[in-house]
Amino acid sequence: MSISVLVADDSKLSRRSVIRALPQDLDYTISEATNGKEAIELLAETTFDLLLLDLTMPEVDGVGVLEYLHEQANMLNVIVISADFQPEKQKIVTSLGAKRFLRKPLDKEELAMAMFELGYL
């Protein structure tokens, strides 16, 4: 099974860490966005199976991307991976439709568990 994943994070190190942490049991087609604006552009032109989304990004932040998906009634599965894990922030992203909230630095096992719960594994 191959799934198309969009990894949106302004940090190259972080994008690399997220891609490395993806469970090996699946094949992936991976696209990368370096900020929220790029992510929205890619989301407008391509259909993805999963969005792995950072929150603190320049141009448009992760909440802006979630708002865009919400406005579009796009039901794409979103896993937020963020260093800003205050309860208030978690509430906002959950209300905008994010399915899971994972803390940075990303734990491989937690990502695998989240993907399992969302039915990818």
């Binding site: 190190l13 963020s82 800003d84 208030e88």
Partner: protein
């Protein structure tokens, strides 16, 4: 003589991300204490001379200033700039009674520095697997300090900002590293980037 050692793009990106993670941990510690949301900025990384550092600290008017040195695998100084505006609202959230005495204000400032600046440095050190020991913060006034006495001619400045959502309070934390520590940090970042 001081050497200027700019970070390359990958090193800067990695350091920015590690700082971002450390800030998140620091903001969460304070948010839990005062049960209020803290907004965090995207970290800024630059190289400045002591004069430029002075200008950077003075960008914020009507502020309290603290500095605290740290030693260990890397050494340098953490300077915090706390806005006077909004501090009494933060004090209320921290269960201080009004009116605030001079001692209360000093205690609140030092506590905020310990929570935010301290946690930020601890988070950064942990992720880089470097040992650092942070000394107690002390209040200072930049206009009465001689920045030319600093032991570096150029320094790496990592600047982060915390904003407490329901008040006008904000705090900037500036980490200063000398050349020797910068070399150590660059090597560690390169190992991490592998």
């Amino acid at each position: 003589m001081s050497i200027v050692l700019p970070l390359d793009e990958d090193q800067r990106d990695a350091l920015q991300e590690l700082l971002n993670i450390s800030m998140g941990q620091a903001a969460n510690s304070l948010a839990q204490l005062i049960e209020t949301k803290i907004d965090i900025s995207i970290p800024k990384i630059s190289t400045v001379t002591p004069n430029e550092l002075y200008g950077l600290l003075f960008e914020t008017k009507d502020a309290y200033y603290t500095r605290q040195s740290f030693l260990g695998d890397i050494h340098g100084e953490v300077m915090s700039v706390l806005s006077q505006s909004g501090l009494s609202e933060v004090a209320k959230l921290m269960d201080y009674d009004e009116p605030l005495s001079k001692e209360d204000i000093q205690e609140i400032i030092l506590e905020l520095c310990n929570i935010l600046a301290g946690a930020c440095l601890a988070g950064l050190s942990d992720q880089l697997e470097l040992t650092t020991n942070l000394n107690m913060p002390t209040l200072f006034q930049p206009e009465k300090s001689n920045f030319s006495d600093l032991q570096w001619q150029h320094t790496l400045v990592m600047e982060v900002q915390f904003i407490i959502a329901i008040s006008s309070f904000s705090m900037r934390v500036v980490f200063c590293l000398d050349d020797e520590s910068l070399i150590r940090m660059k090597d560690t970042l390169d190992e991490l980037l592998g």
